[in-house]
Amino acid sequence: MSERTLVQVQRTIRMRHLWKKVLMTALVYGIAIAYFFPILYMFLSGFKTEQQAVMPAIFFKPTLETYRKVLSDPTMYQYLRNSLFQVLVGTGVSLLLGVPASFALVFGRLKHPESNGKFYLWFITTILLPPVAVLIPLFTWYQQLNLINTPYGLMMAYVGFHTPIVVWMVHSFFSDLPGEIFEAAEIDGCSKLQQLTRIAIPLARTGIISAGLLVAVFIWNEFFLGFNLTGNPTATLPVYMSRFREQQGMFVAQLSASSTIAVLPAIILGWMTQKALVKGLTMGAVKG
């Protein structure tokens, strides 16, 4: 084969590879955009007027009018404030309870050596429990104690359901830390509390933060308990979204603007946690 044809053959192979890559890229992007489309369209429609939003269209003259209208509605703020309370306090308390517990489960010497595993398993099985299983007693208690009209009742339920998730995720991050550090710290006279706050938490910082963000997303989106255990003054954003059509009617632009406000924080937080999400949720299970 002469030199020239060899170069030509190489070139056609390279071209074929290039074409394959271009097609593959187009396919992947096409699917991704189609998949994301409902969210994208919701995001766009929030910048339409009601008249513009009646008929589906992607190109239009954007306006902030609808957002101004939605944000001037005081009830929206109330739902937003309630949701923020649940997310901040609920996530905070879940971490406060879950992080020390997972530390004790990973590095602690409990009475029986097998206790660590048993308690861990107990937390995991709690994740399997669907909220319907607890709704009825909680509902009757909350009505008697008038907790329906305070945010604390719902918050405690969220803590109960999300502490096990914190334990599960943080457990896998703590398990990555070498146990010798803590033995050395122990010999140096470092108390357990110091070992937790000075060594374990700083070392597993990113993992703990992403566990917190994931729990925040879960609480922000939680509907079943939020819907059934709250009254009008304490209801959260998912409840607002579920009532939207009956209370505000069929206003596509308003609906889109409100859902964008309800959905965007969770998507952004979720994107931030994606790496830790896989690791935290799968590590124990994949290896086990």
């Binding site: 593959m24 998949y35 589906p56 489960l105 009825i136 059934n228």
Partner: protein, 296 residues
């Protein structure tokens, strides 16, 4: 001894709170399920009635009158099962696709992950008004442009609509987990596959899939646990309707408490929901353990 005390001080608060908020109420639910207790009849005493609440749902008096419970159970299993099947099959294909080195592939991955973090009530309302609506939605507009008459999918195919929406929300999670598995396959294995002339199909099904079976297991397991308790999306799209055709067990519990005010029967249904969850998780776990044993 002293250190041991601190360890329990770390552990106990979490255990106490979780027990009070989840396990203890569940025990009460089990007790409630044996009571005759109707909130709309405060004049009637709360009395123990054994398994009557369960029998009300389960007892088949004649084949013409099979209790509604069985169709609700079937719908729950159908919705969850088909969703998980779609998520794992299509999710695996999409994960393979996203496993390629493409410029900016992370953007595509991130976009596809989006729906997983959308609250179910919002995604239900958004799909119902901007996609499925026969006059204002994309489906209606496109169907008319093609000369077809759009039908109200939400009332004619409620289960299909719910399955599509559940799949849309949960497939990103499957892709995320399966992709992590695919990327954990060592590169030299992939290279030697290519050198040995393994065909694409063989490579995918005989080598890659078995290697990420554990990831698949985790995804299906978590998907099952979360899907079976899903409630908000059904409430805002079909509201269980038409009739009870898209009821699932959690939705039926909700209706028993807040429409029928029957605490006893609602509790019995809630207990059966938990039992169903445990049975399905157990079956899944066993089948997969068996499969793993065969491969290793």
């Amino acid at each position: 001894m002293k250190t041991r005390k601190t360890e329990y001080r770390f552990l106990m608060p979490a255990i106490v709170v979780v027990a009070i908020m989840t396990q203890f109420p569940f025990l009460l639910t089990v007790i409630f399920s044996t009571l005759r207790w109707n909130l709309s009849r405060p004049d009637l005493p709360r009395t123990f009635n054994g398994f009557d609440n369960y029998l009300y749902f389960l007892k088949i008096e004649s084949l013409q009158h099979i209790p509604e419970f069985y169709s609700i159970l079937w719908q729950t299993v159908l919705i969850t099962g088909v969703t998980l099947l779609l998520c794992s099959v299509v999710g695996f294909i999409l994960a393979l696709l996203l496993d390629h080195e493409i410029p900016g592939v992370n953007i595509a991955r991130t976009l596809m992950l989006g729906p997983f973090f959308v609250m179910s009530t919002a995604s239900g309302v958004i799909w119902k008004t901007t996609i499925f609506n026969t006059t204002f939605g994309w489906y209606g507009v496109i169907a008319k442009a093609l000369g077809a008459t759009p039908v109200d999918l939400v009332s004619y195919h409620p289960i299909g609509v719910i399955i599509v929406l559940f799949t849309w929300q949960w497939m990103p999670f499957f892709i995320l987990v399966l992709l992590a598995g695919l990327q954990g396959i060592p590169q030299d294995l992939v290279d030697s596959m290519r050198i040995d002339g393994v065909s694409w199909l063989q490579g995918v099904f005989k080598i890659k899939l078995p290697l990420i079976m554990n990831h698949m297991r985790v995804a299906i397991m978590l998907g099952l646990v979360f899907l079976i308790k899903e409630f908000g999306l059904i409430l805002v799209t079909t509201a269980g309707g038409p009739g009870t055709r898209s009821y699932t067990l959690p939705y039926a519990v909700y209706m028993q408490v807040f429409s029928a005010n029957n605490v006893g029967r609602a509790s019995a249904l809630a207990v059966m929901t938990v039992v169903l969850t445990l049975i399905l998780v157990n079956l899944l776990y066993r089948s997969i353990v068996k499969r793993n044993a065969r491969y290793s």
